[in-house]
C-alpha cells in the first residue's frame, strides 16, 4: 500500500509538470496527450473514424484483466465544439484515472471519448474565432438551395465574431440598466420601447433580409441523435445519425455491452438537479419523461454530485436539447446518463446597499427586482475576478446593409461564458474526477451469498444460493429493462444437462433492483465440482464454486 502511494506520488510529480499549460489544448496537443496515455498498458487508444475535417475521433479504453466483463462508465467530451472545457475535463479525467487511481480498474472499465466535435473545436484556434457547433460537412442550414452563402464577417477585424447593434427605434433591445456594456430585451409587457437591433457580426451576403443564416459549418454532433431529432433544423440535417462522428461513436457503443453509465460534459445539466418526472409523458409509448425509478436514481447521483462538486447551481436551465447525445444515451440506449457543463458562471450577488426604513416596510413584490441576465451576471463576475480580455468595446463600423444607421460591433468575446479561464480548470477537473470515481464505486455488483448444499437420498443434492445486487443502483435502468441492447442476467450452472434434475443449465432473469436478492436453487445428480456464474457485462459477473 505504501509502495503504491509512493509510486502514485512520484508518478504524480512526474506527470503534472508535463501537462502544465496555460490554455485549452489544440487538437494536436490532445492527440499527443492521448498517445502518451496510450503507452500505459491499461489504456488502448483507437481512432473510430476521421471527421470530414480530417480529425481523428478518439476513444481511450482503460481497463485491466477481463475488462469487457466489468461494468463500465463512458466519459464524453466535446459534445459541443465551443465547450472547450469539456474536452480538457475528459482528458484530465483520463490522465488522473491512469496516473493516480489505477486501482479503480480492478472493478471498473472506462471508455473516454475526449472530443466528439473536433472540426468545430478547432475554431477556437482559428484566425476567425467564434462559438462553433457544426462539423466540416457541407450543409444548407437555411434550406434555400445554396450552401453556406451567408456566413459571419469579422467587421472590426479583431479575429472574433461578437455582436452587432444598430441604433433604431425598430429594435427590441435596450442597454442593460446597470451595465451598459451589454444589452437586454426591452420589456414589451411593461410597454418599454427598444432602441437597438441586435445581430451577430456579419453582412447579409445573399440580401434575403436575414443575417448569418447559412454559416460555414456543417452538422452539430449534439443535434444529430435520434431522441427528439430536430429534423431539418439548422445544424441538425435531414436525418439522425447522418454524420461520421455520430455513426462511428454509436456503432462502437453498440458493441460495448459493459457500459452501465455515461458522464457527458456538455451544456445540459441533470447533475445539479435531476430531470423532472412527468407521469403523462412517462406513460406514452414514445417516452419523453424519464421513468420513475430512473428519476430516483438520477436524484441519488445528483446528490452525490452536489456533495462532491463545490459549485452551486445557478441559471442551470438546460436539461437537454433536441437530438442531443446525453438524452439519447438514456432514452434510446437505456443506460444511466448524466451530463454537466462542468463549470458555469456563479451567481454574483448585488452589493447590499443600506435599505431605508420606509422601504423595508413596503411589500417585497412592490420592489423593483434588479434585472439579471446571463450577460450582466457574467460581466459582474468578470469584474469581480478582475478578468481582462473578455469584452470587445463597441466601435462604430460602416455597414453596407444599414448605410445610414449607426452600427457598432462589440460585446462579450466568444467562448468566455462557457469556459472558465484555464487556471481554474485543474480544480474543476479534480472534483469531477472524484465524482466519476464515486459513481464507479456505486456500480451494480452481483454477489453470491448463503450457499447451501443439501444431500438428498439417491445421490441427489439441492444447491441453494442467494444472488445479491450489492449496490444502490439497479442492475438495469427501468428503461434499460425494456431494451434489447442491455443483456439480461444470465445464470449458468456447469453441470451436464442430464444431471440437472430441477432447474435449467441456463437461466435468465430480467434485473435485480438496488440491494435486491433472488434465491436460486437446483437439484443435481452426482458429485464433483460445480461452478455457478451469474451476471452480464454491464453489471459484472459473480462466480461460485462448490463441491458436491
Amino acid at each position: 500500500m505504501i509502495k503504491h502511494l509512493l509510486f502514485t506520488f512520484f508518478f504524480g510529480l512526474l506527470w503534472f509538470p508535463l501537462i502544465a499549460q496555460n490554455n485549452y489544448p489544440t487538437s494536436q496537443e490532445i492527440t499527443q496527450r492521448l498517445q502518451k496515455l496510450n503507452t500505459n498498458k491499461v489504456a488502448s487508444l483507437t481512432s473510430l473514424t476521421k471527421s470530414e475535417g480530417g480529425q481523428d475521433i478518439w476513444v481511450l479504453k482503460v481497463g485491466t484483466g477481463d475488462f469487457n466483463n466489468k461494468p463500465a462508465i463512458a466519459v464524453v467530451g466535446g459534445a459541443e465544439g465551443f465547450h472547450v472545457l469539456s474536452v480538457e475535463l475528459a482528458l484530465q479525467f483520463a490522465e488522473r484515472l491512469i496516473n493516480l487511481h489505477p486501482e479503480i480498474l480492478e472493478k471498473t472499465t472506462f471508455y473516454i471519448f475526449p472530443n466528439m466535435s473536433p472540426d468545430a473545436y478547432n475554431q477556437y484556434y482559428n484566425n476567425l474565432k467564434y462559438e462553433r457547433r457544426g462539423n466540416a460537412t457541407k450543409a444548407d442550414q437555411d434550406r434555400d438551395g445554396s450552401i453556406n452563402e451567408d456566413p459571419y464577417e469579422d467587421l472590426n477585424k479583431d479575429g472574433l465574431i461578437t455582436q452587432m447593434r444598430i441604433e433604431s427605434p425598430l429594435g427590441d433591445y435596450v442597454l442593460h440598466p446597470t451595465d451598459a456594456r451589454v444589452l437586454v430585451k426591452a420589456d414589451r409587457a411593461k410597454g418599454e420601447a427598444g432602441s437597438y437591433i441586435v445581430y451577430s457580426e456579419g453582412i447579409d451576403n445573399d440580401k434575403d433580409g436575414k443575417l448569418n443564416e447559412d454559416l460555414e459549418e456543417g452538422i452539430a454532433f449534439n443535434t444529430n441523435f435520434t431522441y427528439k431529432f430536430p429534423v431539418f433544423q439548422p445544424l441538425a440535417g435531414d436525418f439522425p445519425v447522418s454524420q461520421k462522428e455520430t455513426r462511428a461513436l454509436v456503432d462502437y457503443l453498440f458493441d460495448q455491452w459493459n457500459i452501465f453509465a455515461f458522464v457527458t460534459f456538455s451544456p445540459a445539466n441533470n447533475l445539479s438537479e435531476p430531470l423532472k418526472f412527468n407521469e403523462g409523458d412517462a406513460k406514452k409509448r414514445v417516452l419523453t419523461s424519464m421513468l420513475k425509478k430512473d428519476i430516483a436514481t438520477n436524484k441519488m447521483v445528483s446528490d452525490l454530485y452536489n456533495k462532491t462538486v463545490s459549485q452551486k447551481a445557478f441559471q442551470q436551465d438546460n436539461q437537454g436539447t433536441d437530438g442531443d447525445f446525453f438524452q439519447w444515451a438514456y432514452f434510446h440506449f437505456g443506460r444511466y446518463s448524466f451530463s454537466t457543463p462542468g463549470w458555469w458562471i456563479p451567481e454574483v450577488k448585488a452589493e447590499k446597499t443600506e435599505e431605508k426604513e420606509e422601504e423595508k416596510d413596503k411589500k417585497p413584490d412592490a420592489k423593483e427586482k434588479p434585472i439579471v441576465t446571463k450577460e450582466s451576471n457574467f460581466m459582474a463576475w468578470a469584474d469581480q475576478q478582475n478578468l481582462k480580455n473578455i469584452f470587445v468595446p463597441w466601435i462604430t463600423v460602416s455597414h453596407p446593409d444599414f448605410p445610414n444607421q449607426k452600427v457598432e460591433v462589440g460585446g462579450i468575446k466568444p467562448f468566455v461564458m462557457q469556459n472558465p479561464p484555464f487556471n481554474m480548470v485543474d480544480s474543476i477537473a479534480i472534483q469531477h474526477t472524484n465524482f466519476i470515481l464515486k459513481l464507479a464505486a456505486m456500480q451494480p455488483k452481483l454477489e453470491f451469498h448463503n450457499l447451501k448444499v443439501e444431500k438428498l437420498s439417491g445421490g441427489l443434492s439441492r444447491i441453494t444460493a442467494d444472488l445479491f445486487n450489492n449496490s444502490p443502483l439497479p442492475t438495469h435502468s427501468e428503461l434499460g429493462e425494456k431494451s434489447r441492447w442491455l443483456r439480461k442476467i444470465r445464470i449458468d450452472i456447469t453441470k451436464d444437462k442430464k444431471e440437472v434434475i430441477a432447474g435449467n443449465t441456463i437461466h435468465l432473469i430480467d434485473k435485480l433492483d438496488a440491494f435486491e436478492t433472488k434465491t436460486m436453487s437446483w437439484i443435481v445428480k452426482g458429485s464433483g465440482n460445480v461452478e455457478i456464474k451469474a451476471g452480464a457485462a454491464h453489471c459484472g459477473i459473480a462466480t461460485l464454486n462448490t463441491k458436491l
Binding site: 434550406r143 434555400d144 438551395g145 445573399d206 440580401k207 434575403d208 435520434t226 431529432f229 429534423v231 431539418f232 435531414d238 436525418f239 439522425p240 445519425v241 447522418s242 455513426r247 454509436v250 456503432d251 453498440f254 455491452w257 409509448r285 414514445v286 417516452l287 432514452f331 434510446h332 437505456g334 428503461l479 425494456k482 431494451s483 434489447r484 441492447w485 443483456r487 439480461k488 444470465r490 444437462k497 435449467n504 443449465t505 441456463i506 437461466h507 435468465l508 452480464a536 457485462a537
Partner: protein, 577 residues
C-alpha cells in the same frame, strides 16, 4: 435477321436458341398487352434467386443500352450487390434530371414477389418502348429507378434454406434475441429435410386437436367438452442450447422496414428497429441513392400480403405530417389503384394495418416529400374472387386440392424427436399463401405495374405555356412567362414545402439585361413579389399540379432571349424566342 442471329452466336447452344426463337414467331399470335417478340425471354410464372434476378437485369441492360442502365447502389450484409436498373429514353435528356419513379421490392426477405413485379416493370417498359406511343412518351419524360430486391442475402436464404412462409423477414445479421449473450444459437431445424419449415404435432391424451376424418391434412380444434388427439408443438425445431425453449434465437431478428429516418423509434417502442436509422447497409444504400437522386417524385415499395395499397402515416403520432393537399393526391392515385388491381384496397397503415415507426414509406414521404405507396401483394381474391382474408385455412386447403393438386402441402410424416419423442411433421410449404402460385403471378405483376405507371405518369410535367412581351417605353420591356404543370403532382409536395426539403424551382432568363425580376402572384390585380438578389434567376417555391406559375422580368434592350425552368422533381424545360 442474319445479322441478329450472328450476334447471338456465342456457342452452339445459344445459336440453337436463337433459331428456335425465329421459328417461334411463326407459331405465335400476338396477345394484347404483352410484349410479343421480347428480346429478353423471361418466364413470369416462377421466382428467381438473386443470381437469376441479376441475370435478367443484365440481359435487359445489354439488350437495351439506350433505355436501361444497371448500377450497384451498395452492398448487402453478406456483400451482394444491390442492383438498380434505371429505365428511361437516354436520347431525350439526362435520366437523372427527369421526374422519376422509384420502385423496390423484397425489403422483407420472405416477401419475394415484389422482386418479380419490379423486374416485370423493367422488362415491360423496355420491350414495349418501340411498340407503344404511350410508353415511348413516358420514357422520354420520365425515369424509373427499379431496385428489385433490397434484401438479396435473405431472399436467397428464404429460397435455398429451410424456412417458414414468414422467415427470415429480416436480413442476414444474426442478433441475440433472447438476451443470453449469444446470437442465433437456437434456429429452426429442418427435421424431415424437405427445405420447408412446417409444423410439429404430437399425439397426446390432453391434446385439443384431431385430424379431420374427411381430410387428414386439416387439424381441427375439438369442442370444450370433447377429447382431442393431438397437440401442437410449433414450427420444426429442437432445443439446441438447453434453455428449455425451441427456435427462440434464429436469423435476425430485426425489421429492415423499421430502419428509416423519419420519426424513428428504438426497439422498446418499435419492435424490429435496429440501432438507428439506416444502420443496416441495405437501407443505407437506398437512402444514399435517394439523397443523390432528388428527381425522384414518386415511389413504390412491394411487400406481401393481403391485397393492400398503403399510404402513411405509419403511426398515429405522425398524423399531422400527412396534410390535406397531399392526401388529396394520395387518394386520387390510390383509388385508381383499387380499380386497376381488383381485390386490392387502398388503406392507411396506422389505422388499417398496424402501427409502424421508422418505415420506408414514411421516410420517403416525411423525410423526402416523395409520394409513396406500399403494396401488400397477393390476396385471397385472386383464388376464387372472394375475399376470405389472410391465412384462411379452409380456402387454402381447397386451393391446394383443386388448383394446385397437392403441391402446396407437406403430408404429415412421423419423426423421432430428441426432446418430444414421436411426433409428426407436415403442413403448408413456405412458398404458399404469401407467395402467388405461378399461374397467378404474371397478371398481378402487370396490374401492379399499371398502377406504378399511373403514379409515374402523374409526376410533374412542366412546359413554358406562353411568353408575353409588353413595351414599357424608355427601352424597357416587360416579359411574362407562364409555366404550366400538366400533371397531378406539384413539384414540391406540401410536406416538402413545410420543411423546404428540396430546393426551389428556378425560372431563369438569359440573353437579356434584367432590371427587375418578380413572381406574379395575381396577374389580374398585378400582385407581384420582387426578387432583389439575382433577378434573372427567379426562385419559385412550387409549381402546383395542374396549375401554373407566372414569372416576370423587366429587361432593357434584348433580342433573342431564352427561358429555362429547372426543377429537381419537375425536370428541365427550355424555351427560346
Amino acid at each position: 435477321m442474319n445479322k441478329s442471329i450472328y450476334s447471338f452466336i456465342i456457342s452452339f447452344l445459344l445459336s440453337c436458341f436463337a433459331l428456335s426463337e425465329t421459328n417461334a414467331q411463326e407459331k405465335f399470335f400476338r396477345a394484347i398487352g404483352t410484349p410479343h417478340q421480347p428480346k429478353v425471354e423471361v418466364s413470369w410464372n416462377r421466382y428467381y434467386t438473386y443470381e437469376g434476378v441479376t441475370e435478367i437485369m443484365q440481359k435487359i441492360a445489354k439488350a437495351y443500352p439506350n433505355l436501361a442502365r444497371l448500377e450497384s447502389i451498395g452492398k448487402s450484409v453478406e456483400g451482394r450487390n444491390i442492383w438498380s436498373i434505371a429505365i428511361s429514353d437516354f436520347k431525350t435528356g439526362n435520366p437523372d434530371k427527369k421526374p422519376a419513379m422509384y420502385i423496390d421490392g423484397n425489403i422483407h426477405s420472405n416477401e419475394i414477389q415484389g422482386t418479380e413485379f419490379s423486374l416485370y416493370t423493367a422488362w415491360y417498359l423496355t420491350e414495349m418502348f418501340d411498340e407503344l406511343d404511350f410508353i415511348k412518351e413516358l420514357l422520354q419524360d420520365k425515369t424509373f429507378y427499379i431496385v428489385p430486391t433490397i434484401n438479396p442475402d435473405a431472399r436467397d436464404n428464404f429460397m435455398k434454406e429451410p424456412n417458414t412462409p414468414h422467415s427470415p423477414r429480416s436480413g442476414m445479421l444474426v442478433l441475440d434475441n433472447d438476451g443470453d449473450g449469444e446470437a442465433g444459437e437456437d434456429r429452426f431445424d429442418d427435421l424431415n429435410g424437405d427445405n420447408h419449415i412446417t409444423l410439429m404435432i404430437r399425439k397426446s391424451t390432453t391434446g385439443r386437436f384431431i385430424k379431420d376424418p374427411l381430410d387428414d391434412r386439416r387439424l381441427m380444434e375439438v369442442g370444450p367438452e370433447q377429447k382431442g388427439e393431438y397437440e401442437m408443438l410449433g414450427f420444426e425445431g429442437i432445443d439446441r442450447d438447453g434453455d428449455g425453449r425451441v427456435n427462440e434465437d434464429g436469423i435476425g431478428y430485426y425489421d429492415p422496414n423499421r430502419d428509416w429516418g423519419w420519426k424513428w423509434q428504438p426497439d422498446y417502442v418499435q419492435r424490429g428497429a435496429y440501432k438507428y436509422p439506416f444502420s443496416l447497409p441495405e437501407t443505407r444504400a437506398v437512402a444514399d441513392f435517394v439523397m443523390k437522386h432528388p428527381n425522384i417524385a414518386g415511389a413504390q415499395s412491394y411487400h406481401n400480403y393481403g391485397g393492400m395499397i398503403l399510404r402513411g402515416p405509419g403511426a398515429e403520432e405522425d398524423l399531422d405530417t400527412y396534410n390535406k393537399e397531399d392526401v388529396k393526391i394520395y387518394d386520387a392515385i390510390g383509388k385508381k389503384g383499387e380499380e386497376l388491381i381488383p381485390g386490392y384496397k387502398y388503406l392507411v397503415v396506422y389505422k388499417d394495418l398496424y402501427s409502424v415507426f421508422g418505415g420506408e414509406l414514411d421516410w420517403f414521404y416525411g423525410g423526402r416529400g416523395i409520394y409513396t405507396y406500399t403494396n401488400e401483394l397477393m390476396v385471397s381474391y385472386l383464388y376464387y374472387h372472394k375475399n376470405e382474408g389472410r391465412a384462411n385455412q379452409e380456402e387454402e386447403l381447397n386451393v391446394d386440392k383443386y388448383l394446385t393438386f397437392g403441391d402446396a402441402f407437406v403430408p404429415w410424416v412421423e419423426y423421432n424427436h430428441p426432446q418430444f419423442g414421436t411426433i409428426e411433421v407436415g403442413g403448408f410449404k413456405k412458398n404458399f399463401s404469401r407467395a402467388h402460385p405461378g399461374f397467378l403471378l404474371e397478371q398481378d405483376a402487370h396490374r401492379n405495374m399499371a398502377f406504378t405507371i399511373y403514379h409515374a405518369y402523374h409526376t410533374p410535367k412542366l412546359s413554358v405555356l406562353n411568353v408575353q412581351e409588353k413595351s414599357l417605353g424608355g427601352g424597357l420591356k416587360e416579359i411574362t412567362a407562364t409555366i404550366y404543370n400538366e400533371r397531378l403532382m406539384p413539384t414540391h409536395s406540401s410536406q416538402d414545402l413545410k420543411y423546404n426539403i428540396e430546393r426551389p424551382d428556378y425560372v431563369s432568363i438569359s440573353g437579356a439585361n434584367v432590371v427587375v425580376g418578380m413572381v406574379v402572384e395575381n396577374e389580374d390585380f398585378n400582385k407581384v413579389k420582387e426578387q432583389v438578389q439575382n433577378p434573372s434567376k427567379i426562385s419559385v417555391a412550387n409549381i402546383p399540379g395542374l396549375g401554373t406559375v407566372k414569372v416576370r422580368w423587366i429587361i432593357s434592350g434584348g433580342g433573342n432571349y431564352s427561358i429555362k425552368v429547372d426543377s429537381a422533381k419537375g425536370g428541365i424545360v427550355e424555351w427560346k424566342k
